[in-house]
Symmetry: C2
Subunit: 152 residues, 2 copies
DNA sequence: AGTCCGTTGAGCATGTTGCCCAGTTTTGGG
DNA sequence: CCCAAAACTGGGCAACATGCTCAACGGACT
């Protein structure tokens, strides 16, 4: 299942470098035939190698320049319900269940600090939420990247 | 600068729903002329509305099914150096400087729990790192999304 | 030997892209 | 209120990429 061979990784790396690259361009860059690249790309696509395109849209120009992580402690029994409630908040863009003392790590974007407080209160008001801990992301010190992993 | 009008947001939403949609398809879906859509798309692109394509590549099939967040406490003076060192670890896919007691929130992927421990030790060994707190992401309870924000 | 799989080169119809232009509508400032 | 700038529209066009098919070649494995 996990089996990507060297060619697949090279293809993904080339794509990561230049997402707009045409199939023919990728083919000659990798020294492969256009047919091969097309087949492999199709296989990668259907095998689910690509995530939603939403991840590539920058929330900042939309008016949400700030990103924050909110750790949410939840009464275990009602975790599912709490998640449902949190999912209703549009500013929440992702949430992970995590190990450790914290139950939920919620990732959200907001317009400003005031906005963040509002959303935080909204989460706190949810039944089953015991405590939250909000951390404002000040800067992306290491910008999202996958190339180091692809190039190994 | 932040100014996206209704049409831009609709365009982005349509794109988020169907990333492979052709320009003509988007045009008729929005009831606009192909020329307009093409112009707006070009403007969005050059204005930096889109982030790197790497974000749309799933690390899991690459052999890294696990994701983890590591909170890193750093001696303030050497923050930059610590970030440089952490950036050398290929499994690190992102890092934010955040407010609160924690200095650095590092996001990484790994092959398994053993792998995670190894990387954690690697971070701990960096000069200037005082303490780390590792949380394994158990599941994406709310999958990454931007549509709720686009649709308002 | 025989079979399967990935690759290659070729070809072809179709659709999309990127660009041009002129005319019309909408927008915002004076 | 009017004018000018900006945005939108419809049309057209050449170049190109796509998706698909086919036959042929090599390597790996039974």
């Amino acid at each position: 299942m996990s089996g990507y061979d060297t060619v697949d990784r090279a293809l993904l790396a080339a794509l990561a470098r230049d997402p707009r690259a045409t199939v023919v361009a990728l083919a000659e860059r990798l020294g492969l035939s256009r047919n091969t690249v097309q087949a492999r790309l199709a296989r990668l696509e259907t095998s689910g190698a690509f995530l939603s395109f939403e991840r590539s849209i920058d929330p900042a120009p939309l008016g949400y320049p700030l990103e924050a992580y909110v750790s949410v402690h939840v009464r275990q029994r009602v975790l599912a319900e709490v998640v449902d409630e949190i999912a209703r908040i549009p500013e929440v863009i992702q949430a992970h269940g995590i190990t450790g003392s914290i139950d939920l790590l919620v990732r959200l974007v907001c317009r400003d600090a005031h906005d963040l407080f509002r959303i935080d209160r909204e989460i706190l008001a949810i039944d089953g939420v015991e405590r939250t801990e909000t951390s404002l992301a000040m800067g992306e010190l290491i910008p999202y990247r996958l190339l180091p992993l692809l190039e190994r």
